[in-house]
Symmetry: C2
Subunit: 317 residues, 2 copies
Amino acid sequence: MNIAEQIVAGDVRATARLLRDIDDQIPSARDILKELYPHTGKAHVVGFTGSPGVGKSTLVDQIALRYRQDGLTVGILAVDPTSPFTGGAILGDRIRMQRHFLDSGVFIRSLATRGHFGGLTRSTNDMINVLDAMGKDMILVETVGVGQDEVEIANSAHTTVLVTVPGMGDEVQAIKAGIMEIGNIFVVNKADREGSRKTVRELRTLIELGLRRRVENGWEPLIVETEALKGRGLEELYSDIQKHREYLRANPQQLNEVLWKRARNQFVEALRDQTLRTILDRLNNRGVSLDALIKMIMNKEADPYSLVHEILNEELR
Amino acid sequence: MNIAEQIVAGDVRATARLLRDIDDQIPSARDILKELYPHTGKAHVVGFTGSPGVGKSTLVDQIALRYRQDGLTVGILAVDPTSPFTGGAILGDRIRMQRHFLDSGVFIRSLATRGHFGGLTRSTNDMINVLDAMGKDMILVETVGVGQDEVEIANSAHTTVLVTVPGMGDEVQAIKAGIMEIGNIFVVNKADREGSRKTVRELRTLIELGLRRRVENGWEPLIVETEALKGRGLEELYSDIQKHREYLRANPQQLNEVLWKRARNQFVEALRDQTLRTILDRLNNRGVSLDALIKMIMNKEADPYSLVHEILNEELR
């Protein structure tokens, strides 16, 4: 069996190796991804996003256990662009794996490095495809972030869960229409804290304000209070995710929109990332180092706009 | 006078028009940016970042007023990727302009749209260059976000200010080393609230934990408590930004690192963005629409990896 076949057969070591190669941007990973692609499309991808400290990891781990009770297999990707310089991800994986370590039905992997020039969204997409091809039924992607990251995870997922906690009243008020629109399910975690009902009410008001657009889409976002550590509300969250999944199944046009958004995101991110890498490699092979170009810009011997223009003229047909 | 000359002379209408063209991705904007580039490099760029609702806008507006008292001119860019689908930015600009509207020394502009395929970082860089060439002494860039966005604004700024509020204890604890490392100054805003001292102590602990690396860099991050609405702590924040600026002036090696980081970010983002746009335009001119490619991926007639590979083979020399 070649590597792709091993992964499709569910081989954990081959999968882990490929994910590492994707993270390290090893070019040969792309050939395996090509082979794996026809085996993707079966998993349901759920994105969990919210500020640091709201309890996303605990929630994701608990939901993963719940899926295991159903006999479903689970892949977990923890995307954390806030720790680009640390090796914390591997340690985090080990700690979390202990919760699931007797269970071969759960596969956990963290992405903390951003690579040399971003490309985090593209790596996330690639890793989702690998876990999908590996046969995981549910893929849970957790991302830190209140800005661009949230919008981007929504482009990679079938179902997007926005997680907050009580007492972030200002945050809720400041949540903009754009963010509200990408959430299919809103979780108020740590709901034993003061102000949980108030946060729920505020979320409901924000959802109703946006409802006119919602009604066209046909899906009214659900709100659920949880205490992930105690397991409270998890059954409800589990069932809400299920409802959204069934909604997509029953509404081919909505499902089509989600699949379109995902395909577009995958293609554009891969094209953007791959093109940049290829051009920088070519410049390098011609003896033009990135460092030399940056030095020219710093010293005002050239401006970035003219340099880009020249490079495109030379490199593109 | 051509447009670039008008902007260098401080013409507000010409500047506003160019910023709009950058936002709308009008190709001719690039030629003007080329002309403006030699006039950049004089402004000091301060990035303000933090979760929604922490009071960044109020803080930025107050600091802007303080600079005006010194006779310095100010450009403000409010980058908000959380509202990609709304027209809220223009309204926000109008409301904020009222605070400064008699003052031609302040120029405010919001970026809320993400363009068709991201490119927000690149647009921000371009707009910073325009305000710099226009002669603004201080450029204040405020961004929402706890993830990737924060790291990116740090790459565009000379001084990075991370803003938080008391009672986000979990958030502070969860702030990762990566984020701590990009902050030159930490602001605890709304410091009249319970828990402000505790938040300051937690920040101090986190900074000390990272101090070994800090000492090599020579700059120990400053922490300041503010109540932006009442003006409390603003003089201290103002003086802390000044200290960081003077620190960079007195340490050519550190300054050089900042300038290198900024030049690199500008070049790589412009290259990434421009290349993608050019390739999509060319495909379109050859009758290959993006939509048709996405449909092929959705229908599994092609995989994104092979398509990207083919396109690069055809489009690159």
